[in-house]
Symmetry: C2
Subunit: 147 residues, 2 copies
């Protein structure tokens, strides 16, 4: 059993490195794509959940339905989101990423993947195997503890 202190320290260091790097790239991506923090979060949420109504996104982000509606509207105009009536409850508009939207948001994840690949390509196969095992564990755990 690893010491709790050491464990926390390692997680914290990794969080720091990962976030420092991704926060910066996040800003650049926003500038290049012209998307806001809320719009990017909306797309990530839809990428993650597949499809959902507008109010759920408002709740997820902590902004008003009006703000979400406006953000979504611009995304639809840009061709990144599709919006269709839910036949079960016609008040609800189900949102989902278009292929174009999916491709765009995947760029964000992919640039992070490339960065990590750059970090690992000088490591030994054993070390790379360790990283695969660890990230697989973490990713699986994250999917299990989801809201």
């Amino acid at each position: 059993m690893p010491s709790t202190e050491r464990f926390s320290e390692v997680l914290r260091d990794w969080a720091q490195v990962f976030m420092h790097r991704s926060a910066r790239d996040f800003k650049h991506f926003m500038d290049e794509s012209g998307l806001s923090v809320s719009q990017l979060n909306t797309m990530m949420r839809l990428y993650h959940k597949g499809e959902c109504g507008l109010s759920e996104i408002s709740g997820h982000l902590g902004i008003s339905n009006a703000a979400t509606s406006q953000a979504v509207d611009r995304l639809v105009q840009m061709g990144l989101l599709g919006r269709r009536e839910d036949p079960q409850d016609r008040r609800v508009k189900q949102l989902e990423l278009t292929d174009q939207g999916r491709t765009l948001i995947e760029k964000v994840f992919d640039s992070r993947r490339q960065w990590m690949e750059g970090l690992t390509d000088t490591l030994t196969p054993d070390q790379q195997e360790t990283i695969i095992d660890a990230l697989t564990l973490l990713t699986r755990a994250a999917h299990n503890t989801e809201d």
Copy 2:
């Protein structure tokens, strides 16, 4: 040697999970703290580099010096940053985090650490050890390949 495809897939999945979660918390943190994307990036950069001049931050973020100056000014007023003349070149104002600023930005990293701890606390000691090893490798690699 792990297959390249499998490796990329694992990295990509982890990037997706980590970013989905941290982008959302990032937005909430911005709202609670009243800080902008640029201000948070500025603080992360200073946390990372220790101390640097204003123009370097502008370059890092891809915004004008005027914008950086304004952002920094608000951070100084909030007591999160210190600004002092560089004795070597008195045109330069060296910026650094105050204790208060450091404490605040550490909350961002710490909430990510807590999230990962939550993901790992049901794993076996062996699995936890694997994660420690992997993240240590990644963090070290990141520090080596730094600009």
